[in-house]
Amino acid sequence: MNGRSPILQLRNLTKTFGNFTAVKDINLDITEGEFFTIVGPSGSGKTTMLRMLTGMESATSGDILLRGTRINDLPANKRPTCMVFQSLALFPHRTVGQNIEFSLKIKNIAPDVRKARALQLMDQLRLPQDYYGKSVTKCSGGERQRVALARALAYDPDILFFDEPLSAIDYKLRKTLEKELKDIHRETGKTFIYITHSLEEAMVMSDRIGVMRAGQLVQVGSPQQIYGAPETKFVSEFVGDVNVMAVRAGGAATVHAAEFNIDFVSPSVPAGFAAGHLVVRPESLRFLSAHNEAQNCLEGRLYNEYVLGSRIQYQVRVNDHVFIVEKLRQQAFTGKLDDNVLIGWDAKDSILVTD
């Protein structure tokens, strides 16, 4: 992606509804051909932001630049972008073929050319050719997803937007479709902008992720960065389980956790750091047989055990604080419930975050 020019640039993009600011001062560059995902809890403003980008909602202030041209006032039907809706919004009175060909029919393209294009897209999206004349209401959930995507691709947009299209799909099919979508992204080379409330979904597919909270982008980075180096407690808690301890500044590379009345060895403490949180992922925590096996150590009681399949998760109670420890199945811990156990981690496996 290096060296490629930005396709979409957002400059101080803001949207207010009366007194409520839904999207606040967003600045973002999205690169040509990128798979960019915006993640956030419901009400974080991600849908409003997407609707501004597609042209279905107008921006209160700020600029949306498409390849350098301001497109704020361009209506949705004139923008070279297309969206896959959360409800998919397939036309129920039309067949699979007619749905896919809709934009081509609007452009007055000859029926045989339309049909050829539709069949080609169906082939690309692994939809059987004999579905061409099938009513969309008779398609399964996964097939409907593919029809919606084919319909959007038929428009040949520069940017494809996705508004949580997989949220209503069951787990197994969702995993398949996530991978297919990533394949389609590679095959078409188009820019994909995806929104979801599931960071897990975002990490599987995206080149970069932007985390939204209360109308603002709080962190933008690769899936690795978002998972491995969250800048705030909010981002760290957004994916999977996480151990978070309230700490305040101690020495140059130590922080004090009042809850346990102990100093932890931490990653280097930035200047001006007063208080924040120390974050340790469950897979970075491990059971110890002696205090000195890790830089930081706590003693607690093994409280519960959950089999997650390939991994096993343990709950360890230290005072009233519940820690989560995860191990791969083959390295399962032999301790029994209610045993006193030692858990620990090294400073390099922890992250110091603000707020």
Binding site: N77, F85, H93, T95, F102, K107, G133, Y155
Partner: protein, 273 residues
């Protein structure tokens, strides 16, 4: 004893159902029977069967004129009511706007007016405005009552309409008009069709509003009433039967059209695969 209970239950259900059917359709049947007499008066049991009054009725120019007036009014009411009600229903159920809840109540209110009172008050208004009563004023009077009903019928369809469909079409490059023509209208068609049937049938059978507002023009229900009050002939049940059967036929035709459209869609699906 135990074995009898379900049998009893079944027979009770059946006799109740049969009683309801007889109760609902016996008057219609009597109407038909009353029309098939050759005598001048309404006498049961019928002593002289015959279709003389059917011939007379169909030959009558006056009756032809009645049909023309009733059809004309019902046709105009249907077209205007459906047009107003479609957009009314979109405002009613599709868009969220300030004052919508008041609008919903105001629109539905005329359904609850007693029609005879509504007819009278409309007559007073028409007079005050210096209008001459004719089939045109009757169309207006019918609309006052039928547009709300029609709006309600179409609204039911609009409530199940996903607004994202319109956005998707717009997003795919369609103009506002294309969105309406290609998506909104066809998706709402079943509701519009039932609305049109309702409008036609309610206008066709309406008596109280027509009574006050048709002036010199006469509709079939008005004529039937007048003849029953004074000057009964077996032509009355003939006309009543024809009018009822006509309405029923229209309903069945509507149903048949919907079935046909569905089958044709299914067939085209088949041929394209």
């Amino acid at each position: 004893m135990d074995g009898l209970t379900p049998r009893w239950r079944t027979s009770l259900i059946w006799s109740w159902t049969a009683a309801m059917v007889v109760f609902m359709y016996l008057p219609g049947l009597c109407l038909l029977l009353a029309s098939m007499t050759s005598s001048r008066y309404f006498i049961f049991p019928i002593n002289k069967w015959g279709f003389a009054w059917w011939e007379k009725t169909f030959a009558s120019l006056e009756i032809h004129q009645l049909f023309r007036t009733s059809l004309l009014i019902a046709f105009c009411v249907t077209v205007i009511a459906v047009t107003i009600a479609l957009f009314g229903a979109l405002a009613f159920a599709r868009y969220d706007w300030k004052g919508r809840s008041i609008y919903q109540k105001i629109v539905l209110l005329p359904i609850f007016f007693p029609q005879s009172v509504l007819g009278l008050s409309l007559l007073l208004w028409f007079n005050a405005l210096g209008l001459t009563m004719s089939w045109q004023t009757a169309v207006f009077a019918h609309l006052v009552w039928i547009v709300p009903v029609c709006t309600l019928v179409i609204s039911i369809q609009v409530y199940s309409f996903d607004p994202a469909l319109e956005e998707a079409a717009f997003d795919l490059g369609a103009t506002k008009w294309q969105v309406f023509k290609e998506v909104t209208l066809p998706v709402l068609f079943p509701g519009i069709f039932s609305g049109a049937l309702f409008a036609f049938l309610l206008s066709w059978g309406n008596f109280p509003l027509s009574l006050y507002t048709t002036g010199a023009d006469t509709t079939i229900p008005e004529f039937l009433y007048a003849k029953m009050v004074a000057g009964y002939t077996p032509g009355v049940p003939v006309l009543g039967t024809v009018s009822t059967v006509g309405a029923a036929t229209l309903l069945l035709c509507g149903y048949a059209i919907i079935l046909l459209v569905r089958r044709r869609r299914a067939a085209s699906e088949h041929s394209e695969t």
